[in-house]
Structure formats: C-alpha cells, structure tokens
C-alpha cells in the first residue's frame, strides 16, 4: 500500500515536472545556404517570420516616435537582442556534413522587418570555416524544447545561393523517435541548452530534415 502510495505520489509529481511542449512562438522559416565561387558553403541565411501574436508582443513599445510605423532604427535593438539570445540555443541550427557538425560564428548581418502585422528576422550565420558540401549535407532548424515551433514555407524550405549546378535539395518531414532515445532526451536537465551531439542528432529526427547533395 505504501509502495503504491509512493508510486502514486511520484507519478503525480512526475507528471507535473515532465515538461512537454509549450509552443508560444510560431515561425514560418525559409532557409538559404550560401556558397563561394569554389563551391564551398560559407554561410546559412535564416528568414524567420513570426506569428501575429508573438509579433505584437515583440513590437510592444518599440514605436518610439509614435508614428504608427516601425523604422529600421526602432527595430534594430530588438534584432540585436534576438540574435544575441539565440546564441545560447545555437541558433536552433544544426548543419552537418557527413556526420560532422559544422560550427558557426555569431551573426554580424541581421535585421528585422515588420510587414502586415508580422515580424521577420533575417540573419546570416557565417560558417567558422568554409566547408565543401560533401556527399551528404543536412540542415536542421529545430527547437527540441518546442518553445519555438518551426514550420518551413512550402516551396521555399531551402534555397542554395551560388551552389554548383550539380547540387540538389530534398526536404523530409519529421519522423518519430524510438522510445529509448526519447527517454534519454527527456533525462537531460533543462538548464542544459545544448543537447549532447548524439542526442541532438536523434532529436533532429523530430525536425524537418533538409538535405543537400552535390
């Protein structure tokens, strides 16, 4: 009986602690990979359009001169906060060649655009060193904690800028994880924004997978 009580208690508390998805930011994303003339990848360009509700929250109080419009000047500080905060989340970006994660530098080029009630964040993540795409290059843009729900704009999921003519892209919808991997991911403390590499890979299968073949 006592054991049952203990189990019941733990189940009650556990179910409350088991943090599940809580999406409050919905992003319509368009991705771009930039190539240099030698055919190496040099940067990832993100174009993330936020949903109306999050936009209204984000622009609250930004119309400093009260003219009803949001100028680049008025949006600049927010864009800065956005990209600086994203760093801790690794920009929700995981670019891999073969099975190797490609490191990126913090963005230097970024801006926000406000149009018909929706805010769009444009930013460029330079690769630390240009990388040849190799036989299998994948890009995932995904929040494993699901605070941000990424949706990829149909037909514009991925654009290759300056890529060799031989390169093609495919986009694969998310597929489910096996239970063991799920459990492993669930066991990671929440204060650890970076998933261990092998788990990040597994979690990414919950993400839309963009593949590039050259």
């Amino acid at each position: 009986m006592l054991n049952r009580f203990l189990i019941a208690s733990l189940a009650v508390i556990g179910s409350t602690l088991a943090a599940s998805a809580h999406p409050h930011v919905f992003v319509d994303a368009r991705e771009e990979i930039v190539f240099d003339p030698s055919g190496k990848m040099t940067a990832i360009r993100h174009v993330w359009q936020f949903d109306e509700a999050f936009t209204s929250f984000a622009v609250q109080g930004l119309d400093a001169n009260g003219d009803g419009k949001l100028s680049d000047e008025e949006l600049k500080p927010l864009a800065k906060v956005n990209v600086e905060s994203l760093k801790e989340y690794r920009y929700f970006t995981n670019l891999k060649v073969g099975n190797k994660h490609i490191p990126v530098n913090p963005p230097t080029e970024y801006w926000l655009d406000f149009h018909s009630g929706r805010l769009t964040l444009f930013y460029t993540l330079p690769l630390r060193t240009p990388v040849a795409p190799g036989p299998e290059t994948t890009l995932e843009v995904f929040d494993p904690e699901y605070f941000v729900a990424f949706n990829f704009v149909k037909g514009h999921q991925i654009t290759l800028d300056g890529a060799p003519a031989s390169c093609t892209t495919t986009v694969r919808a998310p597929h489910a994880l096996d239970d063991a991997t799920m459990a492993q991911i669930a066991a990671i403390p929440a204060d650890q924004p970076d998933l261990p590499a092998e788990l990040a890979d597994a979690a990414a299968s919950l993400a839309t997978l963009i593949s590039v073949r050259c």
């Binding site: 208690s9 602690l17 088991a18 943090a19 209204s56 609250q60 930004l62 927010l78 906060v81 204060d191």
Partner: protein, 356 residues
C-alpha cells in the same frame, strides 16, 4: 526514510531548471524543461503538445478575426478554456509545488481544489497586472516586460523555498509534538501538523502584508503539539469539517503556496493580452485569460485531487492497520514532500540567480 527522501530528490533533481533564458530575448519559456515525449506517456504528451499548439493558434486566430465574427466571443472563450486545460497538462513546477504541498500538508480535497483554482486565477491576475502596467501604463518594450516576468519568476522560486522551509519546520516540530502526544493517532498527527502550519502561515501572511506577526514564530514543538488539541480541520476526505468551510483561514493558510505558483505569469497569457491590446480588444483579452485560468484550474484541481486521494487511501489503510510504522512512513513522506519543495525552490532560485 532517508531512502525515500533520496528517491524523491533523485526524482526531482533531473527536472530542475534555472530560469530558462529566452531564445529571442523576449518571452521566457514557461516551466522550462526537457522534452517529455518519452516513456509510456509519450503518445499522450505528443498529443497534448499538438493540441496545445492547435488551441493556441486557433485562439490567436480567433482574436485577430474577432471583429468580423458575430460568435467570436463564445468561440474565443471556449478556445481559451480548452487551451487552459491542455496548457496545464504539460509542464509547470507550479503544479509540482501544489501536489507536493498537498501531500505534505494532508489538506482536504476541497482545499486542494480551492488552492488549485486560486493559484490559476492569481496567475491570470499577474499576467493582467504585468500587461496593464507594462503595456498600457508605461508602454515599455517586450524586453522590459520579459525582465519583469523573470523577476517575478525569481520571486516565485523564493516563495517556493519559503513554503518548503515552513512546511519542513512544522513537519519536523509537529513530529516531536506527536511523539509527546499521548495517542499517536493519525488524525491527531495531521492536526498537529496543520496547526503548526496554520500558525506559521498566518505569520507569513501578516508579515508580508506589513502587519504585526502573530503568535507563530514561537511555534516550536510545544505550541504545535498543544495546538492540536483545539479545533482542527482533520477532514482528510471524510466529510469536510464545517469549521474549515467557515474559517477565514481556509485559504489564507495556503496563500504562500498559491502566490508561489501564481506570481509568475504564463508567457502565453502575456502574449495573448498584448496581442489583444494591439487589436484594441483589451477586455476580450482579459476575458480570454480568465477563461484560460478556469481551464488551468480544472486540470490542476484534477491533479490536486489525485494527490489528495492517493494520500487519503494510504492514510486510511495505514490507519486501519493502526501500525505506528506505517504512520511514521507516511509522516516521513510528508517530510520528504516538504523537503522536496524546499530543495526544488532552492535549486530553481540558485539557478536563476546564477544565471543573472
């Protein structure tokens, strides 16, 4: 006993999170946490996640189409209610605190439900206050408002720790009192606890309101033990004692827990309110958030009922067996739950302060 406490701690620790930073620097994720789509409940959580997402999107869509739809108000309230229910099924240390609080105190089902709804409405209220002051009165930016909610989150963690401290305090001393008591009967035991707690929480309340502290800080073993001899709410799932229904302290004694849970507004509510405001639908936004609170209250109350019932059954069975060992184990569990709240509050607080 130590093993149980350790088990509880081991269970809690992986879930500990510091005040999660926000990926965009605005709107901090609620609860903060890992993905729960694991284990036997995985399908359920994936489904909940999808529903949360759907209802939230439907809700914001209903808000933006509000002016064009004659049934908009009903649709919006319905969606808000549903969103509240689903939203609360997910994460939230608040619910953990309430469940642990109820396990630790042995409060009645009625009180558990009242505490659940009160905390949900306090949370709605803080969201309304944050947006009223932040957006309407001061017209601050989202960054500033996010800082305010982060500060409230820290206050919430501190309150959780305080809640844990005084629960632990009354448990520990209540236990001594219990040993001194002539008949170690389960109801007397929990009454001693309740009274130790009532006195302490009265102090907390009046202290926080700037009033003169009442008797309680002298509430050592002697007071806790002796106070068990007068009127007590040892209802425990029997018919609730009428005195607890009339006593003004019924909710007051739980205010620390309620505040601890409710003082940090939910990011979703804040976003919906600012969105409503931007659509010039402020009152609609408030209505929506209140409906959300009602929905949240339903879920949390169901959870609270589960916590109370689980304990109630254990109490009844151990009482029938009249085994002092079982009694002690239950009491130990209560202490473990109280310690869990304290540990949880401290870890969250430490993490949040370290992250500043």
């Amino acid at each position: 006993m130590r093993r149980l406490a350790l088990a509880l701690a081991a269970f809690l620790v992986p879930a500990l999170a510091h005040a999660a930073p926000s990926p965009f620097g605005i709107a901090t994720p609620d609860g903060g946490g890992t993905v729960a789509w694991a284990g036997p409940l995985r399908g359920f959580f994936v489904w909940i996640a999808a529903e949360q997402s759907n209802f939230y999107r439907a809700l914001t869509a209903a808000l933006s189409a509000f002016a064009d739809n004659p049934h908009a108000a009903f649709i919006l309230i319905g969606l808000s209610l549903a969103y509240g229910v689903f939203h609360a099924v997910g994460p939230g240390h608040g619910k953990a605190v309430i469940a642990s609080y109820l396990l630790a105190t042995g409060d009645t089902l009625k009180r558990g439900i009242a505490i659940s709804f009160a905390s949900a409405f306090v949370q709605a209220l803080t969201a309304i206050v944050v947006v009223s002051v932040g957006a309407i009165l001061l017209n601050v930016t989202a960054v500033t408002m996010t800082r305010a909610t982060d500060a409230l989150e820290i206050a919430s963690f501190a309150l959780i720790a305080i809640c844990g401290v005084w629960l632990l305090w009354s448990k520990t001393f209540g236990r001594h009192g219990d040993e001194a008591a002539p008949v170690p009967h389960v109801h007397d035991a929990s009454c001693a606890i309740n009274h130790g707690r009532l006195g302490l929480s009265g102090t907390n309340l009046s202290g926080s309101l700037g009033g003169a502290p009442r008797l309680a800080f002298t509430a050592g073993p002697a007071v806790a033990a002796s106070s068990s001899s007068f009127a007590c709410d040892c209802g425990h799932g029997h018919a609730p004692d009428p005195r607890t229904l009339t006593a003004p302290l019924t909710l007051k004694s739980a205010w620390t827990a309620i505040l601890a849970v409710g003082i940090r507004p939910c990011s979703g509510a804040v976003i919906v309110l600012v969105f409503a405001l931007s659509q010039k639908l402020w009152w609609v936004g408030i209505l929506s958030v209140l409906a959300m609170a009602l929905g949240t209250g339903v879920t949390v109350a169901a959870l609270a009922a589960l916590a109370v019932k689980a304990k109630d059954i254990a109490l009844r069975v151990s009482n029938r067996g009249d085994s002092p060992v079982a009694l002690r184990v239950i009491r130990g569990l209560e202490i473990a739950a109280a310690a869990g709240i304290l540990l949880f509050g401290l870890a969250m607080l430490g993490g949040a302060l370290a992250g500043l």
